[in-house]
Amino acid sequence: GVHFPEEFGGFGYGPVELGIVSEEMGRYLYCGPFFASSVMAGYALLLAGSDSAKQSLLTGIASGSVIATLVLDDLNSPSSVGQRLMANACSLSGRAPLVLDAHNAEQLLVIAGEPEGILGLYQVPSSTAGIAIEAIEAMDPTRKLTSVTFDQVPATRVGELDMGLLQQLWDYICMALAHEMIGGAQQLFESTIEYTKLRYQFGRPIGSFQGLKHRCADLLMELEFAKAATHHAGFCLAAEAGDTDAEPYAASMAKALAGDVYLKAAQEAIQMRGGLGFTWEEDTHLWFKRAKSSEVFMGTPAIHRERMMMVLEEEGAA
């Protein structure tokens, strides 16, 4: 709960500090429920939750005594959220095909479509009758996936979101995710460079071949771009409203850059290690899978570039 106010058991820090923590977790391929519980559910409550809901949940989430997750019925783009999961008079029905860590979450925060065409934020214990949580086989073993199905499940409405607020929530989550991603990319890049210095072929370290060196230089450049843009996204979300340096598309820019460079770093990590990098003898493949799932989780780079343009197409924008 780095990013929770102290009254809710947090450290009272903001996006920047959460970013630092997420980046470290990315460096170590952290697999715990922190992201689902503290980042996703946490930010949903912080942005859209009622004071009482914050009171009752955030402290537990911050201390880790309560594990929660955010149930979104679409993980591609905010505009398609709330079409599969419906709430009618505080009763939830429908299915969220991909949810992070729901299998070990005690509390579910659910964003569901409502008859009035608005989105409601609901809280419901995962043990409630009518909720079916199914493990989903994942391409990336470091991210635990589940599907959650609701059959007329009574839930507490703890807040509501218009599209603007959902977009904002999406930005906060992507900002944290991007930090996790550049942490991983940086770690993977460094270990790959080290490998090229130690691995000999044809009587010389493979890192002395210009073909590899030039690719590493390009990769470093793209990595520097992504890191700077990601840290910038943290500052933008932390900035006061009306701060002109805070581009409203900063989070999408970060997610797009981080997505492309993480995957590229992972591809090169395997390529430069050769066959062994493709086996379970090394853990490179776990990084590759993490990079691949991060690329598509909460929107592909292409989707986020399109999100950027929604802002940039307007006259006067950057």
């Binding site: 993980l75 391409m139 009587g203 073909g211 050769g274 086996t279 379970w280 003898e281 598509v296 292409a302």
Partner: protein
């Protein structure tokens, strides 16, 4: 070549089949008859189960065998490479001992070339071969050894002299895999498959008579093997057998043999990106309407068609005996990598967040997920992209080579610990 001769051959084969073909025999029994008949490998010399036929003549023979649905000799897996190498470079004793059981399938083989420390740089191998009391004692580790876990014999390159330059100190051996000094471990890939093995040799023994070629000539022998491998386009990729659906004993046993041999290759289509799935999935998901994805699909089709058409041109030139340098092999290999990577990219765009899923419940019964985690192999296996680019630039474009750092006595060359 007179067509008359070809027609005579065709008739002779038919006649021989009419007389000898018997689907109720065991696979081995039948193949012994086939080998003795000289129709198993008609392009081989008469002294060794053949008839010294030309390619064209042999083609006629296999066409008839296929047509009649007659089971051929064993040709799956690395055994084929062993056979051709022994035939080309082995001595009479070795040919007598090894060729027949390879053809009949009684003995299976594996290839022991690559090492953890020498991948792209095969000639940098450091498995040690010492001649002690009339036998060769082998110590070292090999890797990427298909079907080593059920092989009886292996073709092995090892270093018998450390004072000569790297290519000159290598010898070529035939090693008995069924001995205490040889340990085989399966290697698990990132996609969950385990097509290859690691082979650890600790004071493993090779009979003094099982050195192929002279001591120190191993590299040229190995090059013979590799040229066959290139010509066969990688061994053992699903050899027909499909024609044999009948339930006869010989067909059943043949089917089993083929199935075992093909098992390691089930994920190879995914390694190539499964371009065939792209358009159907794009239509089915509606992604085909997304202008951004359309561009990426079109790029993919351009690469794939372009590569196929270029390969056809190269093949045509080769056939027409044009001596214009056509870099078909390396360009095709490099093309496979860019195509597979782009296919993986397109599959990702089409799936979106669903690309996080895998297994039977996911897109195309898990095949799409398998594409995503198999494609990284295509640019490494069988010669990395970097090696292909070196070959293309130096052998095709004739660009100048770099200064070598691996000349002089092998023991002085810097290498992996």
């Amino acid at each position: 070549m007179s067509d008359v001769k070809l027609v005579e051959i065709e008739q002779a084969v038919h006649a021989w089949i009419d007389e000898h073909w018997n689907p109720d025999l065991s696979l081995i029994e039948w193949r012994n008859i086939l080998v003795d008949g000289g129709w198993a490998t008609p392009h081989w010399p008469v002294e060794y189960y053949g008839r010294g036929f030309t390619q064209e003549e042999s083609a006629v023979v296999s066409r008839v065998f296929n047509h009649r649905g007659v089971v051929p000799v064993a040709q799956t897996g690395p055994r084929r490479l062993a056979a051709e190498t022994i035939l080309a470079m082995g001595d009479d004793l070795q040919k007598r001992r090894f060729l027949r059981p390879i053809l009949t399938g009684e003995e299976s083989w594996c290839q022991l070339f690559s090492e953890p420390g020498s991948g792209s740089d095969l000639a940098g191998l450091s498995t040690r071969a010492e001649f002690i009391e009339g036998r060769w004692i082998i110590n070292g580790q090999k890797v990427w050894n298909t079907s080593a876990h059920h092989a009886d014999w292996g073709i092995l390159v090892a270093r018998s002299n450390w004072d000569l330059p790297k290519h000159q100190g290598i010898s070529f051996f035939l090693i008995d895999m069924r001995q205490p000094g040889v340990e085989v471990r399966q290697l698990k890939h990132m996609n969950g498959h385990a097509s290859f093995n690691e082979v650890f040799m600790t004071d493993a023994v090779v009979d003094g008579d099982h050195l192929v070629g002279a001591e120190g000539d191993g590299w040229s022998v190995a090059k013979t093997t590799l040229s066959y491998e290139r010509r066969l386009g990688g061994v053992g990729r699903s050899f027909g057998g499909s024609k044999a659906e009948r339930e006869d004993r010989v067909h059943r046993e043949y089917e089993q043999e083929v199935a075992i041999a093909n098992e390691p290759y089930t994920w190879y289509p995914q390694r190539h990106g499964r371009v065939d799935l792209v358009l159907p999935r794009a239509r089915e998901t509606g992604a085909i309407k997304d202008p951004v994805i359309r561009q990426e699909i079109a790029r993919l089709i351009c690469m794939q068609k372009g590569a196929t058409l270029a390969a056809n041109v190269a093949e045509a030139k080769r056939k027409s005996g044009s001596n214009e340098l056509v870099p078909a092999g390396s360009i095709g290999k490099l093309a496979a990598s860019v195509i597979a990577r782009q296919a993986s990219h397109v599959h990702t765009l089409i799936s979106g967040a669903d690309a996080m899923r895998s297994g039977p419940g996911s897109a195309e019964a898990g095949m799409v997920a398998e594409v995503l985690v198999s494609v990284p192999a295509i640019s490494i296996a069988g010669g990395t992209d970097e090696i292909q680019r070196n070959i293309i630039s130096e052998r095709v474009l004739d660009m100048p080579k770099e200064v070598r750092s691996d000349t002089g006595p092998f023991r002085d060359i810097k290498r992996n610990a």
